[in-house]
């Protein structure tokens, strides 16, 4: 089981939750598990099966783009979803 941090801008897609728990060995499996329960989340996270380019995903504090992408194994580490925020206001 993997804890996945949901950023404020994606919380409407998951019923307001700040953190979810997903099952799976890889980032893809964990996010697909969540997407199965929250289809609206899937529409924001994925574009044609690939991770949307504006969403950063971290496993154990490392960007999955610098690891094995969606195939990165989670190994009990927590996952952070992070889109850019613009606000300085």
């Amino acid at each position: 089981m993997t804890r996945v941090r949901i950023p404020p801008t994606l919380r409407n897609e998951v019923g307001g939750e700040r953190e979810l728990v997903g099952e799976g060995d890889t980032v893809r499996e964990v996010l697909e598990d969540l997407s199965g329960r929250y289809p609206a989340l899937e529409r924001q996270l994925f574009e044609a099966g690939a991770l949307a380019p504006f969403v950063n995903v971290y496993v154990g504090g490392e960007d999955v783009r610098t690891l094995d992408g969606l195939e990165t194994r989670v190994n009990g580490a927590s996952v952070i979803l992070l889109p850019a925020m613009a606000g300085g206001c």
Partner: protein
């Protein structure tokens, strides 16, 4: 009972001394510590020497020179005070301490290089006394801050605390870019403005507050929105650090590209509701904003605080962290947030950190850049052509 002369002779027998010529050879590798009084120091020093008056030597040396095996040459005007100083450092366990015989007078008589230290006024010494007490800042650091130039993008939530703390710290020149006027919905968090300045341009309101706080600070105001057309003029005024507190993506990407091309580090902060992000982009050294976020999110995923709200104190925390990073960059001390993105959650009161790596394929700072001039950032962020 011993006379002064006898005591001095005894101490000189217990320490190592070197002459000016030998000291000159070691200059550049060895740390020179000037133990004279302030008035003597101000008239001229061995270049690069640090100043610890004899009376404060024992209490301050450990902060300044924690490594007891470091080579130290102590000097005063004629070699007597530095002899006693050398004895004191030996007693504290410093292993390679020598005293300059003949002192600064002999050094100068030999025609060896000297410099006149810039020095703070008595008023400044009082104002910045808590900085002067910190070994990592001290008088040299405070001089650096007073000569420092920091450009703030935005005088809003983040720019308010950042500009106030940078001004209080004595950063000599602050540039502020903002086209807005003070609105009553700003005052829940934008503490550089006040009820009295409602309706005024934010840059003028901020300037007035900053100058009331610290008249040492010169404020350069740019009452305009940063654009591809004016960015070269504004950055051309010369800045050591940019503090990015913009409220929109086009400006963020513009600031990034310009800072990479100008080689100016950017202290990035962003906020939304209870959450904040802070990092440092240091061109040529670490990742840039495009390495972290290659693609801006679609508008529905990137609501601004104006649409989604923000807890008033959050920009106070994030903007203060930005000021801290900016001060360290100007001072050249500590470890910056380069390569690390700090994630703050004010609701759970947690701080997390994720790694940010430089992207070799980054279109702006990568090995083969494909973006080499300013683009239409509004179109880019609207996803035109994606």
């Amino acid at each position: 009972m011993a006379t002064y002369r006898e005591l001095l002779a005894r101490v000189k027998g217990e320490i190592d001394e070197i002459g000016a010529a030998e000291a000159r050879e070691r200059h550049g590798e060895t740390l020179f510590v000037d133990v004279r009084e302030r008035e003597e120091w101000e008239e001229g020093i061995v270049p690069g020497a640090v100043h610890i008056p004899r009376g404060n030597l024992e209490s301050r040396i450990e902060g300044l020179v924690p490594d007891r095996s470091r080579e130290i040459v102590l000097y005063c005007s004629g070699g007597s005070r530095s002899a006693f100083a050398a004895k004191a450092l030996q007693d504290l366990g410093y292993e390679h301490v020598t005293s300059l015989t003949g002192g600064f007078t002999d050094w100068k008589r030999n025609g060896f290089p000297i410099e006149t230290p810039r020095s703070l006024s008595p008023d400044q010494r009082r104002r910045y006394s808590r900085h002067l007490l910190i070994p990592e800042v001290g008088e040299a650091g405070q001089e650096r801050l007073l000569g420092g130039r920091i450009l703030l993008i935005g005088a809003g939530g983040l720019g308010s605390p950042a500009s106030l703390y940078l001004a209080a710290a004595g950063v000599g020149t602050l540039g502020i870019v903002d086209a807005d006027v003070v609105d009553d919905s700003n005052l829940q968090r934008q503490i550089v403005h006040s009820t009295d300045t409602l309706g005024e341009p934010k840059v003028e309101s901020a300037k007035r507050t900053i100058q009331a706080l610290n008249p040492d600070v010169e404020v350069k105001t740019y009452e305009e929105r940063l654009t591809s057309e004016n960015v070269e003029r504004i950055l051309g005024d010369g800045w050591d650090v940019i503090v990015d507190g913009a409220d929109n993506f086009p400006t963020r990407y513009l600031v990034n590209d310009a800072s990479v091309w100008h080689g100016i580090p950017v202290v990035h902060g962003s906020i939304y509701r209870f959450e904040g992000q802070v990092t440092v982009f240091n061109p040529g050294e670490g990742p840039c904003y495009r390495c972290l976020f290659p693609t801006p999110p679609p508008p529905e995923l990137a609501p601004s605080c104006a649409e989604g709200g923000v807890l008033g104190v959050l920009p106070g925390i994030v903007g203060s962290l930005q000021a801290n990073e900016a001060l360290k960059l100007v001072l050249g001390i500590g470890d910056s947030l380069q390569g690390r993105l700090l994630l703050l959650d004010a609701l759970g009161t947690t701080i997390d950190e994720v790694a940010v790596q430089r992207d070799a394929s980054c279109p702006v700072c990568g090995e083969q850049p494909t973006i080499t001039e300013y683009v239409d950032y509004v179109e880019f962020c609207a996803g035109v052509g994606r």
